[in-house]
């Protein structure tokens, strides 16, 4: 890859050519078609793209949490501290899950067990990875609830999820994920299911805790606005591939891929009230069941020319620390 990976020991997670397929009755869905990126220690990396572009599959592939019967990561490497997560035994990957790489999910309403208390579920995360007594684990849960700013943590420790709002449950998920002080937190659309006020609060909480604990965050979202507020670097995904990556300011100032430009045009402008209809990118996303010839964005791309439909563009640097997979990035930048 052409991105600067030179500061090698600063790289926490290095993903190369990741290929994940889903196996249906008669067809294979190529959900990820060879994606490569890295996460540096302590940074916040944003992953954006429309729904269905493979963001969740990327996250689940890293922790090997895909449904066992229907999905398989068929190629690539996921380097974490020198070892390839894809090659670890089931036992070894379990030691990493929740302890060194933690994850929070999009659906706070269904992601907690309804029949266990919140304190119990956080304490469990601690006890799986450290030899501590039950009471010490509960003490840690209490501390975590305080840290994610849940009012009356003493009482909430013994609450069940159904007694809490969506925002509060997402705070509990964050508490649980950070209980073992992981090096990397994968946050898969953690605010998408919440209302706007709650979204802002949860975002602030994640950024704040990340800074305090020095955790690197992989922040997955379909909302470029969220990326602008939280991330240092951004990856843009389309149809199971990475189409652009750059520092966040650079990306917003000079998008080098037509898809990124389209996403920006359809961004809600926060100054102009919320509910105005946005110009969506016209056209449909290609099916991942058939091999894609040429650039996957070509059917929707205003810049498309003949070569786009024949040969898939690869990632190349358009500027320092800024790469895009587009034959016509220079024209796009100039436009």
């Amino acid at each position: 890859m052409q991105m600067q990976n030179t500061s090698g020991d600063n790289v926490l997670l290095d993903v190369r050519d990741l290929d994940t397929h889903f196996y249906g009755e008669e067809s294979v869905t190529r959900a990820l078609g060879g994606i490569s990126f890295h996460v540096n220690r302590g940074e916040t990396l944003g992953i954006v793209g429309e729904s269905g572009c493979g963001k969740s599959v990327t996250a689940l592939s890293i922790l090997r949490l895909l449904p066992k019967l229907t999905a398989k990561t068929v190629g690539g490497e996921i380097r974490f501290h020198g070892s390839d997560l894809l090659k670890l035994s089931e036992r070894e990957i379990r030691k990493i899950r929740g302890d060194r790489i933690a994850m929070i999910f999009q659906e706070p309403m269904t992601s907690l067990s309804p029949v266990h208390t919140v304190g119990h579920q956080i304490a469990e995360a601690v006890q799986i990875h450290t030899k501590v007594s039950r009471s010490d684990a509960l003490e840690r849960s209490r501390e975590m609830l305080r840290l994610v700013r849940i009012a009356d943590p003493e009482r909430r420790l013994y609450s069940y999820p159904h007694e809490m709002s969506g925002g509060m449950r997402q705070r509990v998920m964050i508490a649980m994920a950070l209980a073992c002080s992981p090096e990397l937190l994968i946050a898969d659309e953690p605010t998408t299911a919440l209302d706007v006020t709650m979204q802002a609060q949860i975002l602030r909480l994640i950024i704040d805790l990340k800074q305090r604990m020095g955790t690197a965050v992989m922040f997955i979202t379909h909302d470029l606005g969220v990326v602008a507020e939280t991330c240092q670097r951004v990856i843009v995904m389309y149809a199971g591939r990475i189409v652009e990556q750059a520092d966040v300011l650079d990306l917003f100032a000079r998008p080098a891929h037509p898809y990124t430009q389209g996403l920006m045009r359809s961004m809600p402008d926060r100054r102009h009230g919320r509910r105005q209809r946005l110009p969506e990118i016209p056209g449909i996303v290609p099916s991942l069941r058939e091999p894609i010839v040429g650039c996957s964005f070509a059917p929707r791309c205003p810049f498309a020319i003949d070569i786009c439909r024949e040969k898939a563009p690869t990632m190349r640097d358009v500027r320092p620390s800024h790469a895009a997979a587009c034959w016509r990035s220079e024209e796009v930048l100039g436009a």
Binding site: L63, L65, R94, K95, I96, R97, G98, D99, A102, M103, F105, E107, T110, S111, L112, S113, P114, V115, H116, E124, A125, I128, H129, Y160, H162, M173, M176, A177
Partner: protein
């Protein structure tokens, strides 16, 4: 919770009262003269009159009922016409084999059924799962006495590994007691294992695809913890229901099993009482069994509350 327990207790008492009335009327609604039937064909009129007197059939119906109900409330279930002994004494003489068989059967059925169901769900479509399908087809359709005689043929008559029939009291040693109960327990357990395993599998399968199971996996939980800790508690409500039902149906199976293996238990007591038309014994055992049913129901309802905090009464 306290209020709920109170309400449930009151309704349980109501149910028992209704059941009591029916059991009381049983003797009075039998076509023909119950006393004459009990006395048999060769009885003299004096003997019939004596039995009628003993059963209190000469009093008005309401007086009879009040006397009978008061007797039960004070722990007097009446006396056997034939043995001349109080029903409670007869029951206590016969209770040990029945309780032994019931408890062993429930332990085997619940642990066996739940483990079988969990493994079938964990590897749905796999070997264990297909075994369960075949096993439950047999468990459901082959009656207890066929299984019983088949097992006796294989393990007792053929190989002489286990006793053919009979019972040894636990007081005379744990090993002989256990050895005599192995075949009856296995014969009786098969259908309950199948029943509990099917429901466990279905309930677990649903839970295993829930989001919170993925959360548990993301925490680094082991397969064992995922299945037995997170999933089982979430899947518990329907499983508790079938366990309760199995307990309730157990009594019928116990009667047959006791007959097949010649165990001197409550089942045999009832069968003998029916053959002899010994109504006080039949009524007494019915009252006890109905009471047990009501208690099991109550226990299952309260257990729901323990496994699922979302249930509010």
């Amino acid at each position: 919770m306290g209020g709920y327990v109170c309400r449930r207790l009151i309704s349980a008492i109501g149910v028992m009262a209704v059941v009591g009335v029916f059991i009381f009327l049983l003797l009075r609604l039998v076509p023909g003269d119950a006393a004459a039937m009990m006395a048999g064909n060769n009885a003299t009129p004096q003997e019939v009159a004596g039995i009628r007197e003993q059963l209190g059939l000469n009093e008005p119906l309401t007086v009879q009922f009040v006397q009978w109900a008061l007797g039960i409330l004070s722990g007097n279930l009446g006396s056997s016409i034939f043995a001349g002994l109080p029903v409670l004494t007869l029951v206590s003489q016969r209770i040990e084999p029945t309780i032994s068989l019931s408890i062993l059967t429930m332990i085997v059925s619940v642990t066996g059924g739940i483990c079988f169901g969990i493994f079938a769900a964990w590897r749905a479509g796999g070997f264990v799962d297909r075994m369960l399908t075949a096993f439950s087809a047999v468990g459901y359709s082959v009656p207890v006495f066929v299984v019983g005689y088949f097992l006796t043929y294989c393990f007792s008559l053929g190989t002489r590994w286990l006793p053919v029939q009979g019972y040894v009291s636990i007081g005379q040693g744990l090993a002989p007691w256990f050895v005599h109960l192995v075949l009856p327990t296995v014969a009786l357990s098969l259908s309950y294992i199948a029943f509990i395993a099917r429901i466990t599998r279905a309930s677990m399968l649903e839970v295993l695809s829930e989001d919170y199971m993925r959360t548990a996996a993301a925490k680094g939980a082991s397969t064992y913890a995922m299945l037995f800790h997170y999933a089982l508690k979430n899947a518990a409500a329907p499983i508790l229901t079938v366990i309760g039902l199995s307990f309730a149906y157990l009594i019928g199976g116990v009667v047959i099993t006791e007959t097949v293996f010649n165990l001197p238990g409550i089942g045999r007591l009832v069968v003998d009482a029916i053959n002899n038309r010994d109504y006080p014994v039949i009524q007494g055992v019915l009252i006890l069994v109905s009471g047990l049913y009501v208690l099991i129901n109550l226990a299952v309802d309260l257990a729901y509350r323990l496994v699922d905090p979302r249930i509010r009464y």
